[in-house]
């Protein structure tokens, strides 16, 4: 308890960024998360250079071959039903999954923050309308909402990103709204208004920087679950379409192969999803505690 008070005091003497980084460095699990995330991004960027084979090249003579455990040095993690190299598909899949997760959350955060700031800042009927809309969206499980939106927009990766983004918007809207409400009544906003600053400027210069930390924390905390949701849509055949190497879609038909004993087809994509979601979750938790421990209650 005493430590925290001392830390809080430091906020005034050191820059916000320095303090956040220091707190993050002390958090071992956040560092593990950061390592995983950096590794993933590295793999995604250099997929072409490090993957041993072409991820969509079919080789029907070599289909469903086991990997290194059966002495296969050509396809370390084995091959799938079309003889494609699973390791290469996982490496390219990192590109798809990580970018899907990030883009989906960015879409959600843009929509949600805009709605939340407008709702909190302007109040009145805008606030009422937007908040009732979030109520309605909360009344459905998010993955179901995403499925409905994809069925309206049509299948495909980009549409899945939009659908997931929309389902993430209400939560961030709520949080940003409540932050905006606290900022709105502060004196510096009042004085800005007194000197005749237009709403647009007040929001950009005064409100946005103050709600930014919440937005950053929410973004990192959500990427993990967005990756999960994108994989789920891929698994249901509504997200990434074949032959795109996407982790969820790689699991789509694996039910048939495990009964035949081809366990590797179903195992590795799931491990990849699990590790990357874990990485983003650990980093997000750490970042939340580093930037603003009060947010523990909100997320």
């Amino acid at each position: 308890m005493e430590e925290e008070i001392v830390e809080e005091g430091k906020v005034y003497t050191e820059s916000f960024l320095v303090e956040s980084i220091r707190s993050l460095k002390r958090n071992r699990s956040a560092l593990v998360g950061l390592t995983i995330v950096i590794f993933l991004i590295f793999v995604a960027i250099f997929a072409k250079a490090i993957s041993p084979h072409n991820p969509i090249e079919q080789n029907l003579y070599d289909n469903l071959k086991p990997g290194f455990w059966a002495g296969n040095s050509k396809n370390l993690l084995g091959t799938d039903e079309f003889g494609r190299d699973i390791l290469s598909r996982l490496i390219y899949g990192a590109r798809v999954s990580v970018s899907t997760g990030i883009i989906a959350v960015v879409i959600g955060v843009l929509l949600g923050s805009l709605a939340g700031i407008c709702s909190g800042y302007f109040g009145g009927w805008i606030d009422n309308l937007l908040m009732r809309l979030t109520d309605i969206m909360f009344s459905l499980p998010s993955i179901l909402l995403a499925i409905v939106i994809v069925s309206v927009l049509g299948r495909g990766l980009s549409k899945a990103m939009i659908a997931i983004g929309i389902t993430y918007a209400p939560q961030i809207a709520r949080v940003v709204r409540s932050e905006t409400l606290t900022v709105k009544n502060s004196e510096y906003i009042e004085s800005a208004r007194a000197i005749g600053a237009p709403n647009k400027r007040i929001i950009r210069v005064h409100v946005l920087p103050n709600v930014l930390s919440v937005i950053i924390v929410y973004t990192t905390l959500s990427i993990g679950s967005a990756i999960l949701d994108a994989a789920a849509l891929g698994f249901l055949g509504l997200g990434a379409q074949p032959p795109t190497a996407e982790w969820g879609a790689m699991l789509a038909n694996s039910n048939h192969y495990i009964t035949g004993g081809y366990w590797w087809v179903a195992t590795f994509p799931g491990v990849a999803i699990l590790i990357s979601v874990l990485g983003f979750n650990l980093l997000g938790d750490g970042l939340r505690d580093a930037i603003d421990p009060r947010l523990r209650k909100k997320f």
């Binding site: 499980p141 698994f235 799931g270 874990l278």
Partner: protein, 333 residues
């Protein structure tokens, strides 16, 4: 209390009304002409026109909605494009299957989640605490469809202990009374079918219950830690009560509200998780119904099922709120 429940039920009605408008509009936004879908690729202009007239598609949107609403209020969601059956009948046939799965999954999630959470809080910073909280973190990061596949791989294929999917083996039949197989088979003293149902339930419930279990364990731990540091717990200990009474009676009861909130939300969200779990285990519930409807572009069915799920989620939330008042006498409505 009564007036509170009535007020909430009215709120649910308004919410469903709003959901129905939005879903109705969304479904109409879908590119493509439903008349052409029904009449086929090569239908003539006259047939298309007749189709539109027959299904009321030539009327303005608001009129179409009012017609739909008029029937929906009588419990008629229309007929499925895919099966030509009444949608509500189909939903009601499948819902008990999803309900039984969700209840069983929730039972699994809350027993293990709450127990683990309590032990973790009491034995804070011990090996047990670290391991269980690490596993809980794993649980929330796990794709449940993959967990389902792995469970099938281990328990059905490698160990041959449990069935890979389905609701009941073909050589059993259960007389429907409540439509919940476990209860029906017990009432009719059909123990063979009871065991078989149980075997079919275990893997899907574990797959569906893992994420809620992880959440409940984390919430229970933090909520218990919060309560344990309170003065009345110190007083209870000082009075010389046994540790068991202090933890189970004084601490747990006060820690229960946040746990119940998260369990309620998780239970409502199970309806979403059920879509994935049911697909893996070929479970004939609402989840597979929705996936099937989406794949067949069966829009009336999607519309009906989504509104039904929204209704169930709202009811669960209401039930949780009522439960608060029983657990915590300080809460009055």
């Amino acid at each position: 209390m009564k007036s509170y429940i009535i007020k909430r039920l009215l709120n649910i009605l308004i919410m469903l009304f709003a959901v129905s408008i939005i879903i109705f509009l969304l479904v109409r936004l879908i590119p493509g002409d439903p008349a052409r879908t029904m009449a086929g690729e090569h239908a003539s202009k006259e047939i298309l026109e007749e189709m539109r007239k027959k299904w009321g598609l030539n009327k303005p949107l608001w009129e179409q909605y009012l017609i739909w609403l008029k029937y929906a209020m009588r419990g008629d969601f229309g007929r499925s494009i895919l099966t030509h059956e009444s949608i509500l009948t189909e939903i009601l046939e499948r819902f008990p299957n999803t309900l039984e799965l969700s209840l069983f999954a929730m039972l699994f999630a809350s027993t293990i989640g709450i127990t683990t959470g309590i032990i973790s809080a009491v034995k804070r910073y011990t090996l047990f605490d670290y391991i269980s909280m690490f596993l809980a973190l794993f649980g929330v990061s796990m794709p449940i469809f993959w967990l389902g596949i792995m469970l099938v791989l281990l328990f059905s294929i490698k160990l041959n202990l449990l069935p890979t999917g389905g609701r009941l083996s073909v050589f059993y039949s259960i007389k429907p009374i409540t439509h919940l197989y476990l209860i029906d088979s017990l009432i009719t003293l059909n123990f063979g079918a009871f065991l078989d149902t149980l075997k079919h339930l275990i893997l899907p419930s574990v797959a569906l219950g893992t994420i809620p279990m992880a959440f409940i364990a984390r919430i229970t731990r933090s909520s218990m830690l919060n309560v344990i540091s309170q003065d009345y717990i110190r007083t209870a200990r000082a009075k010389g009560l046994t540790e068991k009474t202090v933890i189970m009676k004084h601490a747990l009861r006060n820690a229960l509200i946040p746990i119940l909130t998260s369990a309620g939300t998780e239970f409502a969200m199970l309806m979403g998780g059920a879509v994935l779990t049911e697909t893996i285990f070929s479970w004939p519930g609402l989840g597979t119904y929705i996936v099937q409807a989406v794949n067949a572009r069966d829009y009336p069915a999607i519309q009906g099922a989504v509104i039904f799920v929204a209704f169930i989620v709202a009811l669960v939330n209401l039930f949780v709120d009522i439960l608060y008042a029983y657990i915590d006498p300080r809460i009055h409505y």
